[in-house]
Amino acid sequence: MNEPGAIPAAAPLLSVRGLCKHFPVLSRGFRRPSSEWVKAVDNVNFDIAQGETLGLVGESGCGKTTTARCALRAIDPTAGEVFFRLPDGRVVDLARLSAGELKPVRRHVQMIFQDPVSSLNPRMTVRDIVGEPLVIHGLARGDELETRVAEVLARVGLKPEHRTRYPHAFSGGQRQRIGIARAIIMRPSLIVCDEATSALDVSVQAQVLDLLKELQREFRLTYLFVAHNLDVVRNFCDRVAVMRKGRIVELAPTPQIFAAPQHAYTRILLSAVPSPDPDVKMNFNVGEELAKLDAAE
C-alpha cells in the first residue's frame, strides 16, 4: 500500500466523499419540530481499491454500520457522494441514483449481515433464499437456477440437499454461510460485511473468515469489513479506518495502525484490547481517557 489514508493508485472501486447522515431529534409536543440533529455519520471520506479489504472499526454507536448502510444506499445519506465503478468501467454515484437506476447496480454490491437469524426469512427454504437474487434480476430459472444454487451452496461448505430446509434447521455458522451464498451468487464486486462474524463463536468465526478469504481470492472480491473486534481486523484487513463519533479519525494500512497509531483515540482503542501475554498490562482506564479526549476537543 502507498501513503497512509491516501487514495489507492488505481482508480478505486468505491470512493466515498463527504458522506453525512443526520437524524432529526424530535422535540416534545404535538407538532414535534426538530431543532437538533444527531450526526451519525459526519463528512466521511474513504476509497477502496479492487480486491482490497478495508476495515471499519470503532466503539458501539460510532456510526460504522450507518456508514456502511449509507454506502450501500440501504438508507439514504443526508449528503455526500458514493462513487462506485461498475465492471464495464462506468462510475455511478450510488447516493444519487433513483430506485429504478439502482436495481441493476445492486447486482454488483452485496451485503452480509451481522445477525444470521434475522437476516434469513424464516418462511423461505434455503433454495428460495439463495436463489432469490437470480430470480429478482432474471439471471436464471428452472434447472439452471437449481444447479447454480447447488453450486454456490457447495462452494460455501453446505450440502446440496440442504436446499429444501428452512433456516431454523441450521446452526449459526451454517446460517451465516447461507447468507454468504446469497451474497456471492450474483458474483458481485463489492461485499459489505456488517459485523459478519461478531454473532458467531470463536472457532466458527475463524472458519467463516477463512471462507471469506478464499472467496476473495477466487472471485476477486472487495470487502468493506465493519467490525469492533480488533484481532479479527488485524488478520483480515489490508487497511483500517478508525471511526469515532461519526468521523474517521485515522485511516492507515493495518500494520501501521497496530504498530504506530497516530490518533489518541486509536491508541486508547488498542490499549483496551486484552492481550494473551500476561506481562502486557491491560488498560483499565479507558473511560477516563476517553473523557479526557472529549474535554480536549
Binding site: M111, S118, M124, E132, I136, Y166, A169
Partner: protein, 375 residues
Amino acid sequence: MATPASTNDGSAGTLSPWALIGRRFAHHRLAVASLYLLAVLYALALGAEFFAPYPRQWRDLTRAYCPPQLPQFSLRHGLHVPAMRAFVDPLTFKKSYIEDEGAPVKLGFFVKGAPYVFWGLLTWDRHFFGVKNTAAQRPDGRPVTFYFLGADKYGEDIFSRLIYGSRISLSVGLVSIAVTFLLGVTIGGISGYVGGATDTFIQRGIEVINAFPQIPLWLAFGAVLPADWSPLSTYFAITLVLSLLGWTGLARVVRGKILSLREEDYATAARLLGASHTRILFRHLLPGFASHIIVVLTMSVPAMILGETSLSFLQLGLRPPIVSWGVMLQDCLSIQTVENYPWLLMPVVMIVLTVLCFNFLGDGLRDAADPYSTR
C-alpha cells in the same frame, strides 16, 4: 421443540411451516370437531335443494304452527311420524295439533319429491330425507306433511327454511370476509409499509370509523337501501355495509405486523438484492403473518353472521321472500308467539352453533399459528 420427525436425520427441517401448523391444529380436538361441523353446515347449504325435504316456496296454510315431529321407528311402519290432526280450542281459538294414531306418515331416505334444478345444471326430484309416499292423502284430501322442526305461521317447513337460510347466513360471513381482507390488507399494508404522514392519516381515519355508533349507522344504511332492489342487490349491499365497518381491526393487525417485520434484516436484505416493494411486501412480509390474518378473519366471521342476523331481525337488512336465519327470526318479535311456538327459535340454535364453531376454529388456528413457539 424436538418432535420425533424433526430429530430424524432424513426428514429434518423438511416440514413446511404450513405442515407444522396443520400438525399443531390437529392437537386441538375442539377446533377439529368445529371444522368438521362447519364443513357439514356448508355442505348442507351448498346442496340445500337436495337436503331440504321441501322446496323453498312450499307451504301448507292449513298446517300453520305445526309442532316438530320426531321420526319414530316401528317394525310395522318402518321410519314414520304419527299423522297430525288440527284442533282449534273453542275458548281461546288457539290452534293446536293432536296425534292421530290411525295412518302414520312413512318416511324414507332418497325419496322422490318436488323436482328442482340443482345449481342450474341438472334437474332432479330426489330429496335426501322426507315423506316416502307423497301421493298419500289426509282425510281432507291434501297431501300428508312432515315437519321435522315444526312449521311457522304460513305452514312452511322450518327445517327446509333453515337449510335454505344457511345459504345466505353462512355465505354473508364469507363474502364480507373477502371484502374485509382486501380492504384490511391493502390499507393496513400501505399504512405500515409507507409509514409517516400516510400512516398517521390512515390510523386517525380508522379511529373515526371505529368511533361511529354501529346501530344508528346500520339504521341509516338500512334506510338508504331502496325497497325495490332485487334480493341479490340487497344481499350484496348488506355484505358491503358489514365489511365497510369490519376491516379496521384487520388493518390494525396488518399495520402492526408490517411495522415490526419491515425492520427485520431479511427485509433489508431483500431490498439490497433489488427486490421491488410488491415483492418485499408479498413474498417476505405477508407470509410472516399470513397465519395471523387467517385467525383474525376466522374470528370475525361470527361478527359478520351476527351482524346480518341483527340487521335482518330489525327489518333493516334482508326482507322476505329471501330466506335467512335473521329473516326467520322476524317471526319471533312477539313474546306470545315465542311462548306458544318455541320451535320458531330454531335459527337461534343454528346461529349459536355456527358462531361457537367459528370461535373454536379461530382458537385452534391461533394456537397453531406460530409453529416455532413452544407449548
